[in-house]
Structure formats: C-alpha cells, structure tokens
C-alpha cells in the first residue's frame, strides 16, 4: 500500500513536529479539526442568518445556541464510541427505529394533519430522525462485511431494509424525511459498488412506478405541492404563496444582497417559515448571490472533507457509513435549496446548521460524530463473513 499524503508529510523533517502533535491530539480527542472548523464556520453563518430571520429575537438565538451546544456535545460524545461497537449496534438501532416508527403510527401525536412525533413526558421526539443515521449504519454494516460489489441477494435484502422504514415514514406522512432516509440507504448501496445495470434498472422502475405512486401513494397535499411547483401562479395566496414569496426574496437579493437585517421580504412576514425551512431565502435576500455561493462552497468543502475521511476509513463499514451519512447531508442541502428556489416540491427539509431546529440539528451532529469517530479511531481489519 502506498503511503498516504499524511504519512508522507509526517515523515518530512521540520513539518513533522507540529503535525504529529495535532495528529496525536486529534486521535486522543477523536476530533477532526478541519471538519470541526468547517462545522463551526457554517454554524456561525447559521446564527447570523437566524438572527435576522427571527427578527432579532433574543429568545430564538438563545434556543439555537442551546441546541448547537447540545449538538456539539453529542457529536463529541458519539465520536468517542468505538466504530466496531457502532457496527454491532447498527442492527439494533435499526430495529428500534422501526419499532418506534410503528409506535408513531399507533400512539403518535400529530400536527397539521401529520403524525410524526412520540411524546415523552412533554418532550417531543421524532423517531424518523433516528432512521436517518440508523439506515446508513445498518446498510453499511450489512454490506461492509460482504463482498463488494454486492451480489443480487445482498442488494435485494438491502433494498428491503431501506423500503420498510421509508414506507412507514411516507405513511406519517413525511415526504421529506422519507426521501432522506431512502436516499441514505440507497447511496450506501451505490458506494458499495452496486452494479450500474441495477442502477439503470432502478431508475427505469422508478420512472414506471411514478403513475401508481402519484395516484395511490401520495396524499392530496403532496400532489398539490408538486402541481404548485409546476405552476405556482395558479394559487397565489394558497399553496403558491410560499414559493412565490421565497423566489421573490431570493431574486430581490440580487448579486450582493440587501445587507444583513435589511431583507424586507423575509423580515416583513411575507416569507413563511423564514427561520426554519425557508431560511436560505433570507440569506439569499440579505447576502445575495455572493452569500449563496459562499455557503455552497463551505458545504462543498465539508462534503469533500467527509469524503476524504471516507476514503481513508479503516474498513468497508467505516467508509460506507461515512459516505452514506455525507450523502444524507448533501441531500438535505440539495432538497432544501432546491425547494426554496422552486426547483423541487416543497417538502419539510431543513437546511443543515442554518435552519432553526431541535432534534434535526442533534441528529445531524451525531452523524458528524460518527464521521469523526471513523476519522480518528485506529484501523481494524475485518474478515468477511
């Protein structure tokens, strides 16, 4: 095996001492500093935008800071968990998640026509969040110990593992989360080397099943969202309002933006949910195209860093899991920014580290904790089973 860049650098005289020190510190704390720095930077951007989006609400800022604090603590704690332990726990997490999803359907509490939460003594908990991590872990754990590229029966079983919670989440209904969960499972299959012919077949099948999905699986409001996307002007004050207003916010930001705290669209209540799912519109309005590109660049750096960690992971489980989680992160970004700008139907997906939110932030950071664990823990070799 050829030496990695890092090993090469380590052997360089002069550069080696400080590098080695950082290396040791990172490994002792199980923290990847580059990743942490990027996360902190994006979180800071998030706070800045949220301050404006929440109309300078001190309360919102305090809440978000508490969530961030909690999330970073969770991340660091998760990073300490041995990767092998994660691999062994993955099936249990998956099973527990499915049970919780079934419980949601039976005794869950709802809001706005959806039943998504379990109420635990005043604390609301969304089991679908668990699946966002349990799914890539489980598929990675399943495929990681098998030959790659996976054989048909492994593909089939993986698809089944993906389908069960996805179906349960669609039924809540929560289209956004179900897309994220399904994607997080399937990308692991892809990274495991799923043969292209399966991929083409899947795309073909998906295309063929659009009609039955449209007619039998989708709720009325979901259909409305898709139709609204195609023609938002048709229902200006109803379903089209959000898209029209968010596009107006983004468009009126121009190249340089209106300036921080100067976004009229968002701050004047024209933009609904400006501090949660539609927060990118606030940013686009106030910081312009420049701001959007800077944020996209930060996200891309974060993703590239995660992918580097995946490539360097000690074993197949690690790299599959890291790449799966990273792809989930990417899906968040793409779906959110796509829907706010009117490219995709409006589904409830927050923008990572920017949108105000509770459990989603914690889940997200737990995911980065997993990635850091893989990045910093010593290599273990596994044998195929």
């Amino acid at each position: 095996m050829k030496i990695s860049e890092r090993d090469f650098l380590r052997r360089l005289p002069g550069a080696s001492r400080s590098f080695a020190r950082r290396e040791r510190l990172e490994q002792r704390l199980h923290i990847d500093f580059i990743l942490l720095l990027l996360l902190l930077a994006i979180s800071a951007v998030g706070l800045v935008v949220l301050y404006s989006a929440s109309s300078e609400s001190r309360e919102s800022m305090t809440r978000q800071c508490i969530f961030f604090g909690l999330a970073y603590v969770v991340m660091v704690m998760v990073a300490q968990v041995p990767v092998d332990f994660m691999r062994r726990m993955a099936p249990w997490a998956y099973a527990g998640g499915v049970v919780l999803l079934i419980l949601v359907l039976v005794i869950g509490v709802g809001a706005k026509g959806a039943q998504r939460w379990l109420s635990l003594g005043g604390f609301r908990f969304q089991p679908a969040e668990v699946m966002k991590l349990a799914m890539p872990m489980t598929i990675a754990a399943y495929l990681g110990t098998r030959f790659m590229p996976p054989r048909f029966k492994h593909v089939f079983f993986s698809a089944l593992l993906v389908a069960i919670p996805t179906a349960l989440i669609i039924d809540q209904p929560d289209l956004g989360t179900s897309i994220l969960v399904a994607a997080s499972g399937f990308v692991v299959l892809f990274f495991a080397g799923l043969h292209w012919r399966y991929i083409f077949a899947a795309v073909f099948l998906l295309g063929a099943s659009l009609w039955p999905i449209w007619h039998f699986m989708m709720h009325d409001y979901q259909r409305t969202r898709v139709l609204t996307l195609l023609n938002p002007e048709a229902d200006r004050l109803g379903a089209g309002w959000n898209i029209i207003q968010s596009k107006t916010a983004i468009g009126s930001g121009g190249f340089y933006g209106k300036g921080w705290l100067e976004g009229t669209q968002s701050r004047l209540d024209f933009l609904p949910e400006g501090h949660t799912d539609f927060i990118i519109a606030v940013m686009a309005e106030e910081f312009g195209f420049v701001g959007v590109v800077v944020l996209l660049a930060m996200y891309l750096l974060l993703i590239v860093r995660c992918m580097m960690i995946a490539v360097r992971a000690q074993d197949a489980f690690g790299r599959l899991m890291v790449s799966g989680i990273t792809m989930t992160f990417f899906t968040y970004i793409f779906v959110n920014m796509g829907m706010v700008s009117g490219l995709l139907p409006v589904v409830g997906v927050p923008l990572p580290l920017i949108s105000q939110g509770g459990t989603a932030v914690v889940t997200l950071m737990a995911g980065f904790g997993i990635i850091m664990a893989v990045a910093t823990q010593p290599k273990r070799v596994m044998t195929p089973q």
């Binding site: 468009g251 121009g254 190249f255 490219l343």
Partner: protein
C-alpha cells in the same frame, strides 16, 4: 468479483470505492452547480423582476390626510375643532373570511345593524383597493382594549385614530358653520382628478355652511408617506414622508355672545335673525330657528335621527336666513321712499290725503289700509314710514312706476343673492316687467305695482337680503357683500363693495329721520321696542302674508292654524348718527312686526352697542295663547 473468491480483495474494494466517491463528488459538484445556477438565474437574470415584486409587496404609498382648519368666532373662541376618535376599520382584501371576522367583531364591540348596513354600502363604493372601510366610529377605551387583546385573531382589522370634526357649541352655529360629513358616492362622482387626489385618506368633507363654502381653504393639502407593510398589511415603519399642509383657520365676524343673544331674544319662536356689521358687511349673528346639533352629522347620522330632523314640521334643517324667502312687507318702505325722493316723484314735505283706501284710476278694485279710516288728511313721508301708511306707498309706487321701482330695488341687491359666504342661498324675487313675462308669462298690471310698493305681491326676500338692504341704507348707499369670515389664517378678508348708489345726502337724512321716528316717534310703530334706549336707532316693521314655504311638509290641522298667521318682520340699524349694526328679524307666524320682531332687534343692538348680552336659559315654548286667526288678510304695518 468471482463467486469462488473467499477473501476480500481490500485493495480492489478500496479502488472501487474511490471511483464511486469520485463519481459521486462529481455528481454533487454538478448538482450544487445547478443550485448555484438556479440562484444566479433568480438573483441576477431575474433581479429586476423580483425587486419590483418585492417593493410592490412591501411599500405602499399612503396618503396622510391634512388636519382641517379650525373655525373661531370674533373673540377667538373655538367653534369647530378636531377631536381624535378611534375608528374600527376593515381592509376587506386582507381578511380571509369577512363574515367570520365581522361576527367576531360583533362579539367584541357593539356594532349596530345600521353600522353594518353602512359598512356594506361603503364596501361597494370604496374608492381604492386595500382601503380600510370604517365599521364603527367613536370606540370607547374599553372597546379599543378589547380589540387590542384580540388583534391576533382579527386579520385585516384596524383601529386607527382619526380627527373628526366637533362643534363644541352644537346647535348654536348649525346654520352658519354647517357641518362636515362622510364623503359620499355623489361627492366622489363630482370630484375632479385633482380633488380625488387631495381627498385620499380623508373621510369627510364640508357638507353645508362655512364648512362647505370654505372647503378648499379648510381642507389643506394631502401629504403622503411611503410605508413598509408586512404581509398582513400592518404598517411597520415609515420610509419617507411628505407632510400634509394643514387647512387654514377661519376667524369669523360671528360672535358667540351675539348668537346667544339672538337665540335668547327669539325665545323659542321659529324664525331668523341676521345682524351685520354696517362698516364691513361682517355677519355678527345669523340664526335660523329651530336649529339642530351638527355633531350628529359628522360621522354619519343615523336613519332615525335624520328622519326626525328631516320630517319635522318645524324644518330645523332649513336655513331660514338664506333660504327662507318671505314677502318683506313694509320693511322695504324706506327704500321705496328713497326711490321716490331720488327720482323726484315725491319730496319730504309733500303730503297726501289718506282716507284708508286706495283706488287706481279707472279701476274698481279697492286697496284697504290696515288702519281703518286711514292715517289722516296730510300724511307726509316721515309719518308714512313711522306709522307704516300703506296708502302713501300705494300712491308713491304708482307714481313712480314699476320700471323705476324695479331698477332702484335692484341697486339694493333685491332679487339677487347677497353673495354671503355660505352655499345654497336663495335669491328671492324683486319683480320687473321682464321678470314677470319670463317667469309667469304675463304682462305687468298696474295692480302689481301697487302691491310691490308695500313689499307684497310677488316680492320675496331672505332675511340676509333684508339685513344687507338695511345695512346699505345705513351706509348711505354703499352696498357691501355680507360675509362671515373675517380672516383666513390671519389674512384679513377685504370687504367687497357691490356698488355705491348716488343719492343726494338730504334724501338719506329724510329716510333716516323717518326710520328713527318709527322707533322714537310718538306714533312710531316700534316705539315700545325703543323705550329707554341710550342711543338712537332706525327701524321699520313689517308683516308678511303667509305663503307656502313656511308650511310644514305634513298636514297637521292643529299646527296649521298657527302656521297660517302672518310672519312678523323687523329691520333696523343703530346708532343713527354713525350706524354700526344692522339687524333683520323674522318671526314666523309671529304676527305684528313691531311687537314680536322689533324687541329681538333691540336686544341685538343693545348687545352689540352696549354689551348687554343675553344667554339662552330655559327657553319658553311658542306662544299658545293667541287665538287662531285663520287665513290672514293683508295687514301691513
């Protein structure tokens, strides 16, 4: 990838994974690039479109209504001011369910059916989209609080303070100042484009009286502000503002104490009193009784209230001093006498024999004087005026002829509006041959001249005209347009001289003396009204036969008898040496100009010249003791 392979090929798997990662990174870069392209499209290519839409969203130009000019009396007492009242309005387009909002509002504040009806009407005639439509005026503190608490439930509902006209003295100036009222559909249809702009944001307009006449002055210029609103239409901040120009203030000749004196002197009777400043034409007092409270009209009068006022047999809404036209009767005799002197038809020394009857040559019709047996064998001009001898004037009028009498009266403004600064003045009738042919399609008969000479027949004048006519005599021919406004924002309104009549001075002296004799002479008709006066005054009484205008709209047999009595008239000025004030009084169905109307004029002059002001206390009702007289005959004195 062979099935027989028992060990994983780690290197191969790693390479496969790296290829997939590279592929996926490429895909992600492409997708993020797609997003960037999308945002670039919205933010750069379509920037103008969205900026326009965003501004349209948030910025609304709001009119800022000017505050209406105030109205002060002669002493600087505020007669019409603006008070803040809180109005509940609804922006209909901003409500999601109007009916639900309305019923919710009804549970919070009291809203009558009339309010709702007016609201529905206002929605239909709304002038601009997104205009708040008033639903309830004059909210109480408690109601405002209740609305504030429920604000979150009330989409499109606004409570805002508006300045609304208030008349602290109520009825006292009802017919002078008039009132403002809601801008109606009819008002809007009359607006020019410029006016339409000026009245943006304004809800009321002068409907009557000075409020109407000086509308342009009082209203001021509308200002505007760019306001930023949120999606629910609430104003968040003012971006820039052009201040409105407030309306100008009016300072009147009208004196609150003179008005009160007039009302007190009228003692509850129907009629009108006008007092003019002889030197300037300023209206010192102008009263039309009965009156009404103009405050009722300001925010829209209720149906019941209006019906009561409008259908009252006493016609309180009717402005008697400019719209009431009555036969002036003997009050015009001084003018006829002056005409006779001016045209040389008579002189001060010439006497006539008055047997109590008058007959035109070759005619059988006999005119009978009010005094049986006549005023004596040698009645001169002074005695004729002092005792109101009809025969003298029948003779004089006949000698003078219609044309000269008509021409001379026209110099005094008879038959024309005085031009006083309140709207809807009626011009009355001062007949001429041409007028009769045009109006009646008949030629002029000698008998018409006889009647006209004593202010009967077709002659009709308003109390304002009588007052002006009296002031013109007092001014020795200088006719000044009566006006109520003395200054507009400190800028003094110059009196307008309508004309100066060149009549020789000793003719004026003769008429003055004769009119003084009415008051101070041993046989003067109004001598009782002048008793104990510390100054000398000139006057002339009159009695007007009742004609249609004073009769009520409804037939009421009990009231009708009283209402067929003659009207009592009186004109006067004082002091005779240097006239300051001219007064015209009419007491409807009062009979006897000297007994009913002259004391009113005396009180007005005492008030103005001596400061003996009266205050209306408990007003006695109309005199019920006098017996019904049936249809009156000509009883002119």
């Amino acid at each position: 990838m062979s099935e027989s392979q028992h060990f994983k090929d780690y290197l191969r798997e790693a390479r496969l994974f790296q290829r997939r990662v590279l592929f996926m990174l490429l895909v992600m870069v492409l997708m993020l690039g797609g997003l960037a392209y999308r945002y670039h499209h919205l933010q750069v290519d379509l920037y103008q479109h969205y900026v326009t839409q965003s501004d349209r969203n948030r910025i609304h130009i709001q009119p800022v209504p000017p505050t209406r000019g105030l109205i002060y009396d002669r002493q600087g007492i505020l007669l019409a001011d603006n008070r803040p009242t809180y109005t509940l309005s609804v922006v209909v387009q901003r409500t999601t369910d109007l009916d639900k909002t309305l019923s919710l509002l009804q549970s919070l504040v009291s809203i009558t059916d009339a309010d709702l009806e007016r609201f529905q009407r206002a929605i239909r005639q709304r002038r601009h989209p997104l205009e708040p439509v008033p639903l309830r005026y004059r909210l109480t503190e408690e109601e405002i609080a209740r609305l504030a608490v429920n604000e979150y439930r009330l989409e499109g509902v606004e409570v805002d303070a508006q300045l609304v006209r208030h008349y602290p003295y109520g009825a006292l100036f009802a017919h002078n100042i008039g009132y403002t009222g809601r801008i109606s559909e009819a008002d809007v249809s009359r607006f020019t484009e410029e006016q339409d702009l000026r009245y943006r944001g304004t809800h009321s307009i002068g409907k009557n009286g000075l409020e109407n006449f000086y509308e342009d002055v009082l209203h001021g210029q509308v200002g505007s502000q760019n306001v930023e609103t949120n999606a629910r239409g609430r104003v968040l901040r003012v971006l820039d503002r052009e201040d409105p120009v407030p309306g100008k203030d009016l300072h009147l000749y009208l004196d609150i104490r003179m008005q009160e004196t007039a009302i007190a002197a009228m003692a509850g009777r129907r009629g009108a009193v006008v007092a003019l400043d002889v030197k300037t034409g300023g209206v010192l007092a102008a009263v039309s009784l009965p009156d009404f409270d103009p405050n009722l009209f300001v925010t829209g009068i209720g149906h019941e209230d209006f019906k009561a006022l409008n259908e009252s047999i006493d016609r309180p809404l009717y402005n008697r001093f400019i719209q009431g036209v009555y036969p002036p009767g003997s009050t015009i005799k001084p003018m006829v006498a002056l005409a006779g002197l001016h045209y040389g038809v008579t002189d001060a020394r010439r006497t006539i024999y008055d047997p109590g009857t008058f007959r035109l040559p070759n005619a059988r019709w006999v005119w009978r004087d009010w005094k049986r047996g006549g005023h004596g064998p040698a009645v001169n001009l002074k005695q004729a005026i002092a005792e109101s001898c009809n025969t003298y004037f029948w003779d004089l009028g006949t000698r003078m002829g219609i044309d000269r009498m008509s021409e001379f009266g026209a110099y005094f403004g008879l038959g024309e509006v005085t031009g006083v600064d309140i709207p809807n003045e009626r011009k009355g009738i001062w007949p001429s041959r041409e007028w009769k042919r045009a109006a009646r399609g008949e030629s002029w008969y000698p008998g018409d001249t006889v009647n006209m000479a004593i202010g009967q027949g077709m002659v009709l004048t308003s109390p304002m005209q009588l007052a002006q006519f009296t002031a013109t005599i007092a001014n020795r021919g200088k006719r000044i347009r009566p006006h109520m406004v003395r200054s507009i924002n400190e800028h003094v309104v110059e009196p307008v001289v309508e004309g100066v009549m060149e009549v020789e001075a000793h003719h004026w002296d003769s008429v003055f003396e004769a009119m003084a004799e009415v008051m101070h002479g041993a046989r003067g008709t109004a001598r009782r009204a002048a008793e104990g006066a510390s100054y000398r005054m000139a006057g002339k009484s009159g009695t007007a036969q009742v004609v249609g205008i004073a009769q009520g709209a409804r037939y009421d047999s009990a009231a009708l008898a009283e209402r067929n009595r003659e009207h009592a008239l009186f004109v006067s000025f004082a002091p005779i040496e240097d006239p300051q004030i001219a007064v015209a009084v009419i007491v409807e169905n009062g009979e006897g100009g000297s007994s009913q109307a002259a004391p009113v004029a005396r009180k007005m002059m005492d008030a103005y010249l001596l400061g003996h002001f009266l205050t209306p206390g408990e007003l006695p009702g109309p005199d019920e003791s006098a017996p019904a007289a049936g249809v009156a005959s000509v009883r002119n004195h």
